[in-house]
Amino acid sequence: MSANDGRSEVLQGTLDLLVLKTLETMGPMHGWGIARRIEQVSDNLLEMNQGTIYPALLRLEQAGWIRSEWGVSENNRRARFYALTPSGRRRLRAEEKNWDRMSAMITRVLRSEV
């Protein structure tokens, strides 16, 4: 419990980014779908418990970047679907830019050592 509580902000932020990007790319999805997609795209390199996606989804919804509604899944089951909101889209853009900037800077620092 406490280990999850102490999850670093960076990791939280990364997860948020991944979820938003996934929703942008794939359109509205349910929680399991998002988790699977992230696993696949990251080549299972990202070692995370699937369950952690739900608190992240709650957080994103509270912030107003995604919204949810109940619908029917591809195998006719009741599921909750999440979709990106306009402000979520804006947030994604901003975070992407941030990420690019940060990784460029780190690259520069690392390369300069050589």
């Binding site: 419990m1 509580d5 399991w32 369950g51 739900y54 957080r59 599921a79 909750r80």
Partner: protein, 879 residues
């Protein structure tokens, strides 16, 4: 804004718990099913797939927990739960809960009551617009090495008005009283004589009519009066057409020109019933040496007190150049000047009840700790299960919160009753007529006090109990004896220190009262009846007529049966006259600044010294024949002689009024009278000039008559009243009381404080006894086994006693030392009321120490007895 929206969402979620939980369950179930199916499709068996799905998910319950925490406001929910739990716990021990709540209620209630007194009397702003711009202006100087300030002479006030640029208005007022003619005879009411500038400075518009104009102060024109709201209601039933009506004041008809609004009072906190224009006398136009006026001024907007003081310093310098040896102007804020004395009494009171509350808190804190220690297993288990230290502290804080809340509510409810009791005490020195109510600031103070109390009683136990040490303690059956003992002893020290300080304070005040009773006032107050008589200027418009009446009155009274001597004085001894006179000593140049002679001035008849039994130390008093205009004799007091004729006998020497006396106005000193405590019982004797009333041509409309009787003074009152009525049918005697009553009235403040401090220190001792009993009981209970072991190993009864009481005594002695030290600062606060007692007062301090020690021992008696009864065999079996 963003955060606020999230917060609102979370609050909303609190109320939808069940529905949201069901939704989450469904969502997670869906997730697990999908993952399971995927794994099955990949080739796993259904059971293995289900297991693997759960494993990749992570802990389902954990996720739900995190989710829920994020969704709602967990802090609120758990706090509510803690409160409910605390309520249940407290209900299970009604005796303990009741005792704790009552102790706290007492402390909080008393503190709230005293604070509402402070709020009403000291903190409440004066009822004028922008009251912080109002100042009192005095004439002041360094006299005999000390800086003192006092009344103002009229010509000086006029100069200030002309020259100063700091004030919008500056004016004089003189409080007094007048005869008001009513339907059923005359009644004495409080009146203040004011210049029109005073109302201008105050800035409160009248409810009806208008305020005084400069014409109103010119003699010979129509006489006018302004009524107070209360008088208007009483006398005229609040009639709307009262303006223009006349009422008879001091045998003259006065036209009512205005009525003031209900909340207005002047002088502040001592309101008069009506206001009259201040009529100046001929003396006021010329004599710079007769200081008798009180002066009020309003600073110009934007002018600070410091700037005004600078301005007036400049003015004083200009005046000094023209009139050498003048006094300087001195400004004080009106509010501070008004509340000074009351503030002192109330601050001492506040400190006292503060101590009592601390004591109550200490007691309750110990109770909480003792019970919490009894539950240490429960806490240790919780800690082991993963509860954070904070959660354990929260449980205890919730209990403390509830106790303080209950105590606060009960205290608040009983506050009104406490206030009424305080205000109805006979020796109440607080100004009358001020409404004391439980206002918002008071409620806020009560809430703050309760909150601090809650923290105080639960913080220490909570901190101690939630520590990591607790898990180690679980291993023992009994927590480490030394740590427990240490905590209990700290408590004993605190309780002893607080009660000792209060008892010493009470002791000092009691001894002050005794000292006051034995004090030598310089005269003999027994068998003396005093009264005042006031002659209406209408029938006695000039000095010769006034003097003629006084002659007749004195002769008449002296002839009554049972009367030994009759004295006359402008004010009674121990009542300080606000008026003082500059004078010149013959042969002594008047150019030593800071030592210009001035003295209290009293006009008396020849028999005054005999009536008051004031000894004549040197020379003689004046005879009846010398009591005439132009006799040129005067008697000075011993203090005046010591100050202005040091080392010589002033008898035979000469002095004159004023700083630049005319050659034919020299007076010869014919006697030196013994000192009297003219400024009040607790004050040192003042320098006094006694002039025969016929030789002093300032019109004195009111005098005090002193009648020394052979038998009990009260019995002569009727005869005197009759005699006066025969002389002057419309005249009313007022303020008739014996000299002893007057003296006791003047010590009201000390008596008030003494009663209260004594009561509270008794309460404090009671609380301390309860506290010590609680601690000792608990300690003996906890060390049951230890005592059994010692007895089994051969300890005698004396050894057991020494073991049990030893710690207690040591801590009590430390507490006594601390208490004595803090009593010194308590005494500093009470200085004006503690008369004749120094900061180190052995009888009070030793007495207090003895009382508290005895109390502590008494409190420990039962626990000690229980310790002696410990059966070693049974104790060793005890777990």
């Amino acid at each position: 804004m963003h955060r606020l929206r999230i917060l609102l969402k979370r609050i909303r979620a609190l109320f939808q718990d069940d529905r949201l939980d069901a939704a989450l369950d469904e969502e997670l179930r869906f997730h697990l099913e999908m993952e399971t199916e995927r794994l099955v499709r990949g080739g796993m068996t259904p059971d293995a797939a289900r297991l693997q799905a759960r494993r990749s998910f992570g802990g389902v319950e954990q996720v739900k927990e995190i989710y829920r925490d994020r969704r709602g406001l967990p802090a609120v929910v758990t706090f509510a739960r803690d409160l409910a739990h605390a309520v249940r716990t407290l209900r299970r021990h009604p005796g303990y809960t009741a005792a704790a709540v009552l102790s706290l209620a007492l402390g909080i209630g008393a503190n709230t009551a005293v604070f509402s007194l402070l709020d009403a009397f000291v903190l409440e702003p004066l009822p004028y617009p922008e009251p912080e711009q109002l100042v009192r202006v005095f004439e002041a100087g360094r006299f005999g090495g000390r800086f003192t300030w006092g009344a103002v002479a009229a010509p000086v006030l006029r100069d200030w008005r002309e020259r100063s640029r700091a004030f919008t208005a500056i004016g004089a007022f003189v409080p007094g009283s007048v005869n008001l003619r009513g339907g059923d005879g005359a009644v004495r009411v409080a009146a203040t004589f004011v210049e029109p500038e005073v109302f201008q400075a105050l800035g409160v518009p009248p409810l009806q009519g208008r305020l005084f104009l400069p014409e109103n102060t010119k003699p010979g024109l129509e006489r006018v009066v302004i009524l107070s709201h209360a008088l208007w209601q009483d006398r005229f039933g609040g009639r709307q057409d009262v303006i223009g009506q006349t009422i008879r004041i001091d045998a003259w008809d006065h036209t009512i020109i205005g009525v003031m609004p209900a909340r207005f009072e002047f002088p502040p906190r001592a309101g008069a019933d009506l206001w009259l224009p201040n009529l100046m006398t001929t003396w006021d136009f010329t004599d710079r040496g007769l200081h008798r006026l009180s002066v009020l001024a309003r600073l110009k907007p934007g002018v600070s007190l410091a700037a005004a003081r600078d301005d007036m310093a400049g003015v004083s310098r200009e005046l000094e150049a023209m009139h050498p040896n003048s006094r300087v102007a001195w400004l004080m804020p009106l509010h501070g000047d008004t509340v000074r004395r009351t503030a002192l009494v109330l601050v001492v009171l506040a400190a006292t009840v503060g101590f009592v509350l601390l004591l109550a808190c200490a007691n309750v804190a110990h109770m909480v700790l003792a019970r919490a220690l009894a539950r240490r297993h429960e806490f240790a288990v919780r800690l082991a299960l993963g509860a954070s230290r904070w959660r354990i502290m929260r449980l205890l804080l919730a209990e403390g919160f509830l106790l303080a809340l209950a105590g606060g509510l009960v205290g608040l409810a009983s506050c009104r009753w406490v206030l009424d009791a305080l205000l109805s005490l006979p020796a109440n020195p607080l100004p009358a007529g001020v409404a004391v109510s439980i206002s918002w600031p008071v409620l806020g103070y009560c809430a703050l006090g309760s909150a601090l109390t809650a923290l105080g009683i639960s913080l220490v136990p909570a901190w101690r109990l939630s520590g990591q040490k607790l898990q180690a303690d679980l291993a023992e059956a009994v927590p480490s004896a030394r740590s427990r003992a240490r905590h209990g002893n700290r408590l004993i020290t605190i309780e002893v220190a607080l009660s000792v300080a209060l008892v010493i304070g009470a002791g000092m005040l009691v001894r002050s009262l005794r000292a006051l009773a034995d004090l030598d006032l310089g005269f003999r107050p027994e068998n003396v009846l005093t009264m005042r008589v006031s002659l209406p200027p209408g029938r006695y418009p000039d000095v010769p007529r006034l003097h003629a009446f006084y002659d007749r009155l004195l002769e008449r009274l002296a002839g009554l049966a049972g009367v030994e001597a009759v004295g006359l004085n402008n004010l009674l001894p121990i009542q300080m006259t606000y008026t003082n006179m500059d004078f010149t000593v013959e042969g002594l140049p008047n150019d030593r600044p800071g030592y210009e002679p001035f003295a209290e001035h009293r006009t008396v008849n020849h028999d005054f010294f005999r009536a008051m039994r004031i000894p004549i130390i040197s020379g003689r008093g004046f005879t009846a024949e010398e009591n005439r205009a132009g006799s040129g004799v005067i008697v000075v007091s011993k203090r005046a002689a010591d100050m202005y004729w040091p080392g010589q006998d002033p008898v035979g020497r000469r002095m004159a009024y004023g700083t630049q006396p005319k050659p034919d106005r020299w007076l010869t000193i014919i006697g030196v009278a013994g000192d009297i405590k003219s400024a009040g019982v607790g004050q040192p004797p003042q320098a006094i000039l006694y002039a025969p009333y016929r030789d002093f041509d300032f019109p004195i409309q009111s005098v005090s008559i002193i009648v020394r009787t052979t038998a009990a003074p009260a019995s002569a009152a009727d005869a005197i009243r009759r005699a006066v009525r025969e002389l002057e049918p419309d005249l009313a005697l007022y303020w008739i009381s014996t000299m002893e009553q007057v003296i006791s009235q003047s010590t009201a403040g000390t008596r008030f404080l003494t009663v209260l401090l004594a009561s509270f220190s008794i309460l404090a001792v009671a609380l301390a006894i309860v506290g010590v009993y609680g601690v000792m009981s608990y300690v003996v209970g906890q060390r049951h086994r230890e005592i059994g072991v010692r007895v089994a190993m051969g300890a005698s009864r004396r050894d057991v006693l020494r073991f049990v009481l030893g710690h207690m005594m040591r801590q009590a002695l430390i507490g006594i030392a601390i208490g004595i030290v803090s009593s010194i600062s308590l005494r500093q606060m009470m200085r004006p009321y503690v008369i004749g007692i120094g900061p180190v007062d052995i009888p009070s301090q030793a007495g207090a120490a003895a009382v508290i020690l005895l109390a502590a021992l008494a409190a420990s008696a039962v626990p000690a007895y229980r310790a002696l009864r410990v059966d070693p065999i049974e104790a060793l079996r005890h777990e």
